[in-house]
Symmetry: C2
């Protein structure tokens, strides 16, 4: 089947635009139209070259352009895929943190600390952290943003009996798990994370630059140490248009 038969404008050999530029543009349009969605795996290079009626070298030049533009990515042994335009951390599948996942994906984020102070937590939080009512904890509220804007509002409550002085850490640059494990030598072992959809409250809407009532991805977490003591409770609200939680799962 040729590109023409698939309803695409054909490759034109009698125009000054180079063939590989025309092919890049065809693929770009398919991605832009959604016909080739995120994670779509392209056919093999020989198949595509045949489809476009060009040499493999020409095809490869077109693909290289799109890879450089960030529209395609190649995975060794698996093929060429359309890139996702949203950030896709695997935080439902692995006990990594957003900042660790951003780092591993090469996503650059900035952190704004909105609160970093000792407070008495709400009673349900105290209960989940195994603390007597009235015991102070660190309340850490942060907004993480990419160059597109805010992607997550994080509210953590951290046991300070395990982390004396943590309220003096600068969390603009330090990560919470990094500080717990590195500075305090705590052995983070397990966590329970639950995910749900919520309507943005005024505070969440303001932090994520969304309309009040807009749907936001909500994540609640309790983190436990190797000795089974809870160390941290968090509420996280995620801008669902900019970040999708992803799991790559294996059957049984």
């Amino acid at each position: 089947m040729t590109a023409d038969e698939r309803g695409l404008p054909g490759i034109q050999r009698d125009v000054p635009t180079a063939i590989h530029v025309q092919i890049s543009e065809h693929i770009r349009l398919r991605i832009a139209s959604g016909e080739w969605p995120a994670h779509y795996r392209l056919k093999s290079e020989p198949e595509l070259a045949q489809e476009f009626g060009v040499s493999r070298g020409t095809l490869r030049r077109a693909l290289t352009t799109l890879i450089e533009e960030g529209l395609l990515r190649q995975v060794r042994g698996r093929g060429t895929f359309v890139t996702s335009t949203t950030i896709e951390p695997a935080i439902a599948q692995k006990l990594s943190t957003l900042s660790e996942d951003f780092a591993s994906q090469g996503v650059v984020t900035t952190t704004t600390v909105r609160e970093c102070a000792l407070i008495v937590p709400p009673k349900p939080v105290a209960a989940l952290l195994d603390l007597a009512a009235g015991t102070p904890v660190l309340s850490l509220t942060r907004v993480r943003a990419t160059d597109e804007g805010p992607v997550a509002l994080l509210s953590n409550f951290v046991r300070t009996d395990l982390t004396p002085g943590i309220e003096r850490v600068d969390f603009t640059s330090a990560s919470l798990f990094g500080v717990l494990e590195g500075t305090y030598g705590l052995k983070i072992a397990t966590a329970r994370r639950t995910f749900g959809a919520e309507a943005a409250t005024p505070a969440v809407a303001e932090a994520l630059a969304l309309d009040e009532g807009a749907p936001v991805q909500y994540l609640q977490q309790v983190t436990y140490l190797a000795d089974d003591r809870p160390v941290e409770y968090s509420d996280v609200w995620i801008h669902s248009g900019r970040l999708r939680v992803t799991s790559l799962l294996v059957r049984r």
Copy 2:
């Protein structure tokens, strides 16, 4: 510390109500008020018995009542926990299906099949399923409900070149993965699931008995066979008030 010191009405020995009934009621109130939230781990039995100033036998009788009521559950070797009132499938962590997760948790659901027919899928779905445009697939639309009401709307597109005749299966009782693996002998190997929050469209709102625009948990999935061929694409909308996706995660 006694129950009184924690701000609870004390155990009264000069009233006709049995002590263990009073203790059950105290705990019930703490759970109802949210002071002891879902997944809160109660103190050990000796500690609680001392706190209430009763024998371990009396305490155990009170706990047994609450376990029978479904408010508490005991996990061997870990302790006694407050039960969650929402269903919490681990579908972000494991490649199980909602129906498998419901079955393992003892949640009884009913399935209503809204569509089970061969259709030509939208182009992005065809692309993700590695199908030429125009190839028909099974479109299977189902609503799963518990006795509280609908919990999920599922829309699956299944490759029929791998599953000839699948449109004649009665999915009111059969599960999709069960049919793919059992009837067709397919080896389901991996899946990519992404999670996000969306506003309920009119169709989703109607199916889940929610207001239009209400936040719903959205899940998108592509399932692959052992030979890496995609077999199924799905969109799932979850009633977030009735079902929270949960992951129990282990660090590194």
